[in-house]
């Protein structure tokens, strides 16, 4: 078999559960099933290039592949939040169905085609948390004037509700939260938030993550380099990514509840948003999504495709599953 030696920059530290651990699994798997011929070596964020730069570097052929969260490029490709994790979107199983069977993958390739990049789905995790709040969030009025760190479309929704949204750099976040420069911050899913150790200083962890119902990771590959590979190598990399997707999803499902138990043990108040607040958030989200769709054709197409599928999937989602409380009232 051909010898492949690729340097792969990644967007998050490799130990971030479900977000980056898939690439570790993927590179090991591919190395093993190729008898050591495919050596894809990942590099921690900033080791080779900053995380925001992965698409551009792969597109330019500086690296043959990179592993990233697509949302980093929403500044120039507005549709990306829908593929990376949108507010009030699908849940992971429905997303995977849409991706593999519902035309999602085709739309994904269409988005990246102009950049000479091929994107492989290589990780999915469930919802994030709505964030760490200095005070419990009991009514929508509290959002008005709230100083919060919030990314993406969810941030736009919060802004519409009167929040003052900032994008403080990671290095300042902890201190800013500790000192009360900001009142709240959204970060990631519990297993990743646990790594951050915010529970030491903030006691209100607010759920569910309405703003990102799934979060994906992708391997972006320079299309020229991809097409240069043999069929065998390509198949091995594809299998590696599918395996990594399953691995990361299971791992985060395994770790998230444990992280939440740890938070509770540390005295963190796990607060679930009230139906009224969620309804309001959903309404503003839909307005926001429609606004973006009006200004970007690709966004409109993907949004329509996802909404259509959610309509179809809804009957199964709604009637086919037991209510979430059937585990025995764990969630109150």
């Amino acid at each position: 078999q051909e010898r492949v030696r690729w340097q792969v920059p990644i967007a998050f530290p490799s130990h971030w559960v479900g977000l980056s651990t898939p690439i570790v699994h993927m590179t090991e798997t591919v190395r093993t099933i190729s008898g050591g011929n495919i050596d894809m070596r990942y590099y921690e964020p900033d080791e080779l290039i900053p995380p925001f730069e992965i698409l551009d570097a792969v597109s330019e052929g500086q690296f043959n592949a990179g592993f990233t969260w697509l949302g980093y490029d929403q500044g120039r490709i507005p549709v990306l939040p829908l593929l990376a994790g949108p507010p009030f979107g699908m849940e992971p199983p429905a997303f995977m169905a849409w991706h593999y069977f519902g035309g999602g993958d085709e739309l994904l390739q269409e988005v990246y085609e102009p950049y000479g990049v091929t994107a492989l789905l290589c990780g999915v995790i469930g919802p994030e948390a709505a964030g760490w709040f200095a005070e419990p969030l009991d009514s929508l009025d509290q959002i008005d004037g709230l100083r919060i760190r919030f990314a993406g479309i969810g941030g736009q929704v919060m802004e519409k509700l009167g929040a003052s949204v900032t994008m403080l750099p990671g290095g300042e976040l902890y201190q800013a939260m500790d000192r009360g420069v900001i009142d709240a911050m959204e970060f990631s899913a519990p297993a990743v938030d646990r790594i951050l150790g915010v529970a030491d200083i903030v006691q209100n962890y607010i759920l569910p993550g309405w703003h990102q119902t799934y979060t994906t990771s992708h391997l972006l590959i320079n299309t020229e380099a991809w097409e240069d590979l043999s069929d065998l190598t390509r198949a091995q990399i594809e299998v590696g990514c599918r395996s990594a997707t399953l691995f990361g999803f299971s791992e985060s499902e395994w770790e998230n509840p444990q992280a939440m138990h740890d938070f509770e043990a540390d005295g963190v108040n796990l607060q679930v948003l009230s139906p009224e607040i969620l309804a309001e958030l959903e309404e503003v989200t839909n307005t926001t999504l429609d606004e973006i769709a009006a200004g970007d054709e690709m966004f409109a197409r993907v949004l329509e495709s996802q909404r259509e599928w959610m309509q179809v999937h809804g009957v199964w989602h709604d009637k086919g599953h037991l209510p979430r409380s059937y585990y025995g009232g764990v969630a109150e």
Binding site: R76, R147, I153, S164, V165, T166
Partner: protein, 205 residues
């Protein structure tokens, strides 16, 4: 014995001569660098407005937060060359101070021409196409209410490195003037180079 320190006494006289090309080039770089220094005032202003806004009026502005590092980045990039002209870039000098001006000029010339200028030529090319791509793709901030037109700050990189190359070239030319007498050297104090002996005896003034 405690040695008296006379700021700049020795250094000023050991400096390289300038010449008919370097003098105007350096003057232009100096002018641009000093003009860009006013961006610090803008940076302070933007930061202050941001703090007052958020604390007193409960408003936050991602655009303003971004503007502060845009100003900082531009000011920093435009002063790289200015500091070459003023020779502020830090050197390890414990062997250098024992070298004659001639040895120093040779080291400086070779290192500039063989290493520094080629590497920053590559950097210049890379950052230029980087800024162009940003312009063509209409890149804006990833934050929804952040600043548009990322190409402006990215464009400050090739601009800064163009000036840096000019500053390097001018400095290399000053070495050449000194070593080969062409272009005709102008001495800062109207005399020739100060000899090593003279330097040492002037140290304790």
């Amino acid at each position: 014995m405690v040695q008296a320190i006379v700021p700049g006494a020795v250094e000023a006289r050991q400096d390289l001569p300038t010449n008919i090309i370097s003098r105007p080039v350096d003057a232009v770089i100096r002018f641009i660098g000093q003009l860009a220094a006013w961006l610090w005032v803008a940076t302070i202003a933007v930061i202050t407005i941001n703090v007052v806004d958020r604390f007193m009026f409960g408003r936050g502005s991602i655009a303003l937060e971004e503007l502060s590092w845009h100003f900082f980045g531009a000011a920093m990039l435009l002063s790289l060359s200015y500091a070459v002209v003023t020779d502020d870039h830090v050197r390890v000098d414990f062997l250098r101070e024992r070298f004659s001006l001639k040895t120093r000029a040779w080291i400086e010339l070779l290192a500039l021409v063989l290493l520094a200028m080629p590497v920053f030529w590559i950097v210049l090319e890379e950052t230029y196409s980087y800024a162009m791509r940003s312009y063509v793709s209409g890149e804006r901030s990833q934050a929804p209410s952040g600043l548009p037109n990322r190409f402006i700050i990215k464009g400050a990189m090739p601009l800064g490195f163009t000036l840096l190359m000019l500053a390097f070239a001018s400095r290399a030319l000053r070495c050449i003037s000194f070593l080969f007498g062409f272009p005709r050297p102008f001495w800062p104090h109207g005399r020739g180079p100060v000899s090593d002996n003279a330097e040492q005896s002037s140290g304790g003034a």
